[in-house]
């Protein structure tokens, strides 16, 4: 097992990179992966203030937007594209709910990590290419891996809880 440890001086790494998002999946890709072969009928909902209050009370999670992007799935169940507020940024995610109203799967659609994105940014990386004193890093691969203190997924699990409540209180009572 080979490994090489390098300390790159921070002055060689001026932090000028704008925050960039890593896009994992589009809404359409997430739909195809989470409900293979199904078709999707948009059933977008604007929640009333009473509904928002009821969802907040039942889930103990704040409802930030009255707009709910939900699709009815031909094979049964619902697909919802929503977002939560992370530490600094919005995190878009998709929730698949099966016909029984339970979570089928969750996929994060985009993610923004400040430090990780600085590392990913080509302009950021170009600044230290060849600047190390010993053998320079072979930067033929992007630095896409970050090892560090665990980031909590609490925001997303709270978002899932809020959408399950929204499903139970609003979507499950919708009729064609």
């Amino acid at each position: 097992m080979k490994s090489r440890f390098l300390l790159i001086p921070a002055y060689a790494l001026v932090m000028s990179a704008p925050v960039q998002a890593t896009v994992y999946l589009s809404v359409e890709q997430a739909q195809a992966l989470m409900f293979p072969g199904a078709t999707f009928t948009p059933a977008f909902v604007t929640l009333s203030s009473d509904q928002m209050k009821a969802i907040e009370q039942a889930s103990d999670v704040n409802v930030l937007s009255p707009n709910l992007k939900a699709w009815r799935v031909s094979s049964g169940g619902w697909f919802i594209a929503d977002q939560v507020v992370g530490k600094h940024e919005f995190i878009p995610f998709a929730l698949a709910i099966d016909a029984n109203g339970t979570v089928k799967s969750v996929e994060i659609l985009e993610y923004r990590e400040t430090y990780g994105d600085q590392v990913r940014n080509p302009a950021w990386r170009a600044q230290f290419t060849g600047k190390t004193h010993d053998a320079p890093l072979k930067l033929n691969d992007d630095i896409k891996n970050l090892s560090g203190a665990t980031l909590s997924s609490r925001h997303i699990t709270d978002g899932v809880k809020r959408l399950l409540t929204t499903h139970a209180l609003v979507l499950a009572h919708q009729h064609d």
Partner: protein, 299 residues
């Protein structure tokens, strides 16, 4: 020989194991890559369900709710991780101990498990008995928290699954505990939790696992509290340190970060035992290397 097919990089992320797990795969066939990623996520979700400290149906919750001394059959995977944890406890004379959860609950860093009997003070890893048929008995009331080892195990399972699906180049990252597939070289940036670092640490790896632990992000007004606990003294460790371990298996890398935090240079034998190396940054920002590799600072 170089393939003529274009190589797709496919990356997906799911909230699992209390963190965000990302899986990145490079493959010519995008559909095959997505199938492999979905299967790997399913394996991680299974570990999450079996070994969660809080899920009402987890093996650990069943163990914590059972009468003291009762034999609880756990899943073979849970038994495997418990055996690995107990082996690490034996090798470290109890510095690594999966029963320190009681201390974390006392510090309000962890909610108490649902419906569990409160642990007996002084209960520890020697009170966990596991037989050949995956039966587990607790000699005293205690709480097992596999948080310091199961995340790494889940990453290992995901890598095995990707490999079984024919994937040759990938990285699975569970909130900073990661493992690579393929010779790379893979470049890993280490997030030390420093606010204004003078240097940025990078690792260049072939196929290997990396885990980083730091108590820095958790430093609060409560000077006793830290997410990392010394198994023998039950006091907090690593409140101002950052430890990165490189090992063949992520389960070992994950667990060894805590041991290096607790024992420092005395953990060299353990690192060698698992073919691992550690990179440690102290409270003053100074780096040192332990184990297989030597420190190659660029500045």
């Amino acid at each position: 020989m170089l393939s003529c097919l274009p190589i797709n990089t496919i990356e997906r992320a799911r909230p699992l194991l209390g963190t965000t797990v990302t899986i990145r795969v490079q493959a010519a066939d995008a559909a095959l890559a997505h199938d492999a990623i979905s299967a790997a996520f399913a394996d991680i979700a299974r570990v999450h369900t079996l070994m969660s400290f809080h899920e009402p149906d987890s093996d650990l919750t069943r163990l914590h709710s059972a009468p003291v001394g009762a034999r609880v059959i756990v899943d073979a995977q849970t038994a495997h991780v418990l055996r690995a944890a107990l082996a690490l406890s034996a090798l470290s004379d109890g510095v690594f101990d999966v029963t320190v959860a009681a201390q974390l609950v006392a510090w309000d860093l962890l909610p108490p498990p649902p419906g569990a009997i409160w642990p007996t003070p002084g209960a520890g890893w020697r009170d966990i008995h596991i037989d050949d048929d995956n039966g587990v008995r607790l000699g005293q009331p205690l709480w097992v928290d596999l948080g310091g080892i199961a995340k790494g195990y889940a990453v290992d399972c995901a890598i095995d699954r990707l490999r079984a699906h024919g994937i040759e180049h990938a990285c699975v990252n569970a909130g900073g505990d990661l493992r690579t597939l393929g010779e790379g070289p893979h470049i890993i940036a280490i997030d030390t939790g420093e606010t204004a670092p003078s240097h940025r640490p990078l690792l260049e790896l072939g196929e290997a696992a990396v885990a980083t632990s730091s108590g820095r992000a958790h430093v609060t007004d409560d000077h006793r509290a830290s997410p990392h606990v010394h198994g023998l003294t039950r006091s907090s460790i690593g409140r101002h340190d950052c430890v990165t371990v490189v090992a063949p298996q992520c389960m070992h890398a994950d667990a060894l970060t805590k041991l290096v935090m607790a024992r420092g240079a005395a953990s060299v034998d353990l690192l060698e035992h698992f073919g691992a190396a550690a990179y440690c940054q102290d409270a003053h920002g100074n780096w040192s290397a332990l184990g297989q590799s030597s420190l190659g600072a660029a500045a």
